[in-house]
Structure formats: structure tokens, C-alpha cells
Amino acid sequence: MKKINNKTWVMLAMLTMIIAIIINGCAESKLVAAKSGAQLWAENCQRCHNTPSPSSFSHEQWVTIGMNMQTRAKLTDKEREKIVAFLQQ
């Protein structure tokens, strides 16, 4: 295991703490909470690419694709759940 600079550890620890504090303070508005999976699919997918057809993948595959897209597009957990549920219909 190679040695990591102390300054690097401190910076990483501070960043992690800041993120932890902000995560705990985050909440969505009623407007956002009321959005359907179809609306979130239309709004979020096209940020990077064309909106996918629900028939492109199977029920199981959409779960995997949803996780993959969450890591790339930084979807919130609720957005991912609603979009995947819409695409599985």
C-alpha cells in the first residue's frame, strides 16, 4: 500500500463531511414529488440522449440500466425508481 499525502486525506475527509451534511439536509418540493415516471423519463433521459423506448429492454434489464444511468446522469433514487417503473409497464 502506497503512502497517501496527509493533505489529500484531510481534503477528502472535509469533502465527505460536507457531502454528508448536505445529503441529510436535502428534500424535494411537492412539485417534484408529484412528477410521474413518464414525465421524469421525458425530462431526464434527453439531457444526454434520445428518450428510450420502453420495449428496448426487458423488465429485469431496465433495473440494471436504471442503476447504470444513475451512476452516469446522477439521477436521484426516486427519479430512478419512477423512471424504471414507467419503462417496465
Binding site: K2, K3, I4, N5, T8, M11, L12, L15, T16, I19, I22, I23, C26, A27, E28, S29, L31, V32, E43, N44, Q46, R47, C48, H49, N50, T51, P52, S53, S56, F57, H59, E60, Q61, V63, T64, I65, M67, N68, Q70, T71, R72, A73, K74, L75, T76, D77, K78, E79
Partner: protein, 395 residues
Amino acid sequence: MMAGCLATLNSHAQQQTTVIDSTLLERVAALEQQVADQKPGESHFMVVGLTTFGFVQHKTIFTPPGGISTAVKTNSLADADNYELSPMLLWRHGTRFLIEFEPSFDGTNLGVNWANISYFAAPGLVIHAGYFVVPFGIYSKRLAAGWIDKVATDPVGTDLPGSDFGVGLSGGLPLGSMKWSYDISLTNGLQLLPDGELQGAGVADNNNNKTVSGRVSLLPFSNSSLEIGVSALHGGVADAGSHYNNANVTMYGADINFVKNFDPILINIKGQYTRINVNKQYYTNPADSSLYSFNNKTSSLFGQLSIRPVGIDNPVFKNFELAYRYITYTAPNSSSWGQNYHENDFGLDYWLSWRTVLKLSYERRHSLSTANTTVGGTAGTTNVNSIYLQFSIEF
């Protein structure tokens, strides 16, 4: 009459049976789904990915200082810019773990774009480790795929920091009616080459220092149409034991992504600015091994606009998309690769499906060398006009 009563009873029994059967079937289907969701293995493995191929014609005109221009024309059915086969293997274990592996063949080399594991630890927190795209800017992680990019080539200056080995945290979170995201990582870092350029260090780390990088973005509108991101990276870059004096790189970046439907036109704007600063170092002249220095700062910017009439009724014209991209790139004066570079790209795309595109791109590049000829640089002006016909599909 007796027969009529029997028929009525039989009809009721059939209706009841139908109701019971339907309920049972739904219940069985739900149970099967629950089992499938928990069961690891082949059912959760899938292959996606992309392939891109096409034709390119370049006309390169080089003019040395005070000299006569020379022109060279080339035609190719495949090169690193317009051929790629990258199957992406995805495997998830339940709904907590996701493994991604994407090998890639570009016509010359077989490489790996990424190979990492992600753990969905909590809402808004994904921990990833392995070989992944370092969080910096918006292009490399989201827009580089041929079936996503609106023009045939990658913008100059978006190749760093690329993919690297390390660990990271990321997530997207609501913020009232807005949304924000973070993506931070600790990786091996970049490597400083003898001429002052940077490249990925690879699997064998070149020093004991680690590199911290991250991107934070804000989506200020509830419809997620606008995203503004800022990125930073800092780390040591010298090979262990080399003559460099505490060599390190600091990168800054900003990016924007705006996608909105102004019926019937879908407007798509993307841009990224990157600045790379390497602290003062002395480099080795390959001609006589003497040492020289220069202000090692590189900057790049690309801005792209594309429009597509998605709302019109014509089934053919609604699949066309027009794109324009401007790129500027400034490499350090007096280095061996110094240049002031500008590029204008025009694209006409036809979408055969949501993930299949045929692209016709015309690209004009102009580069004025600011390189130091005594350390291996080439003086002069280079103009390149290129036409690409490219097909790309995500499978």
C-alpha cells in the same frame, strides 16, 4: 326451465373461476418477480455497448513560415476517430451492486474504457471502485459515445483526465424544486511526460501521490433542462525518482448542458471549458539533453448547439438533427507541441431509432504552431478539412 337454471349457474361458476384464475396468475407473477429480483446470476447479466464505423476524407494543407503550402488528401473507411466496437458488460447483484466492464477495439488497439464496481449504499450515495472515468467535466462520462455525440469526432482537449484506478463517491439529490449532484474520486493520477505533456498513469502507479478530483453540478429548474457543473483536480504527476521538483497538476473546469423542447423544436446546447496548469518544471531537450522550461498551461473550450424538429408530423423530417460545434484549444507557447487551435464542425444527423444514427459531418480545423522548434516542435500553419459519414448504434 331446469336447463336455463343450470346454464345460469354454470355461467356464474365460470365467471368466478375466471376471477380466481386472474388473481392467482397476478399473485404468481408478482412472486416470480420477487424471486427474480433477489436471485443473482445470469438473469441479471446483460450486454449493451456500441459500435461506430464510417468513412472519412481529410484534406490537410501545411504551410511552413514563409514557405510554400503542401496539400495531402486521404480517404479511409476506418480510423481511431470513426471506428469503435465497445461491448459493455453489466452485472448487478440485487439492487445494491453493479459491475460495469467495457472493453473497446478502435481498429488498432484493444483497450478498456472502464471496469468498476458500484455499491448503492444509501439514497444519494453510490460508492465506486476500480477503473472508471475520472469525474471532470461532462463530455467524457456522458457525451462521448458515438450514438450520443452529435458530430463525428471528440472535441480536442476533453481526453484528460480520462479513466483511472481509484475509489469514489457520487450521487444525485433533490434540493427543493432544484437538484444537485456530486462526484468525487481519489485516483492514481496523471503522468508527466519528458516534453511536459500529461497522460494517464495506467495500472502501475508512477508515484506515491494520489489525485483528488471532483465535479459538482446544479440543476436549477424543476424540469432538469439546465445543468451547470464545475470540476477540479489536483495531484502529483512526476514519476518516482525523476528529476522533476514536486511536479503537480491542477485542473479546473466548467460545463453547461441545456436541453429543452420549444415545440416543435428540441434545442440542445452543451459546452465545457478546461484549464490544465502544471507547476514550473524543467524538461529535457531530446536533441542535446539540455534542460528548458515553459509556462505549462493548456486550455480548451467547446460549445455545441443542435436542433431537431421532434414535434412535427412528418415522420422523415422529424428524425433529422442539425448540429454546430466550435472548439478552441491553446497548448503552451514554447513547448514542443505549442499551438493555437480552432475548429468549426457542422453536422447533419438522421436518427434511424432512438439509439441508431447516421451522421454526416464537415469539420474545419486551423492550427497555428507556437512550438519551440529547438526542442522538437514544428513551426507553421495547418488547415484540415474533413468529411465524415458515420454510423453509430447502441445495442
